[in-house]
Amino acid sequence: MAETERVKRIGLRMVRQAGAIVLLAVIIGVMVNQIRSDRLPLVADWSPEARLTLESGESMVIPIEEARELCSSQSATFLDARSSELYEHGHILCARNLPWNAVDEHFDTVMADIHQDALLIVYCDGESCPESKDLALDLFYRGYENVRVLVNGWSLWVEQHLPVEKGPCQGES
């Protein structure tokens, strides 16, 4: 009984001190955030639409219907931001692979014949996969101004039974 009491006392001491440290961190963190120039809002909207809105307020998100039409009319270039292995396993018809994890390595080859005015549609897999957003922003800052992101691209495309292919893009020279 005395031992249980002792364990309880030590535990309480640990919890009290831990609570005080957390409280201190909260106070310092919030205060420093309030006075810094690059402060973050305490609560932010992390939905794909909000994350894919440029500073100008323009959204980079493209709806699946619009992407489907652009694919069938071949008036946009699709870029798969996933890894080469996933791309080889299956991708949107004639999408090129520009894996975000090796973008500098592949950039010159993949983008050689694409003009900076061209409409680019970037996708990866998953509602909140970061690769498409990162690649889209990277392309935007490299001077490609017509970049759009197809959120949850691969899954959505497969769900709607839209044209896909395996291996390298057959339309590529």
């Binding site: 009290r16 001190q17 831990a18 609570g19």
Partner: protein, 202 residues
Amino acid sequence: MKTRFEREDQKEKRMKRLHENADGSLPDYSQGIHAPDHESGKSRRWYQAKVLPFVVRLILGGVFIYASVDKILHPAAFAEAVYNYKILPDALINLTTIILPWLELLLGVFLILGLWLPGAVLLSNLLLVTFFGALVFNLARGLDIHCGCFTTSQEATLDLCMCLYMIRDGIFVLLALYLFSNIFFREWQAADESPHKQRSPL
């Protein structure tokens, strides 16, 4: 310049003096040359009680401070890393980004200085187990994320495999668990020695 022979001779003399008995006779070396048992036991206990926990505190404290700096300097990039874990609800991502680096910094400082050790060690364990759990969870669901543990730059760590992160974090968890048991034992002994001693409210 001493010859090798002279140096070895001096070394032998020093060893002899070290193991000489109080009455001037030499101890029985039949069991091999070593310091008396009670001496080695004492130094081992001293090492286990003082040196080892201090070294572990320094390591963990250093890790926490190192991990916090880049996150404090680049909050937006760290927020992305937190978001990439896909564990927290959206409403908690920014709050975590704002508070967690300072919590790590405070824990590092408290661990190194030995302030509020029971609380700091408990929190360190909770944090490290949580980080480890998050890595394992994401590995299990096949999510190869950038962990954002020490740097918010994605390029610097993309090549590092998740398994390496896990091994590294696993070692930190083991160190933290050792420190927890050590602090708990120390608190237990303190309560034993002075059961009615008035302590600070914390």
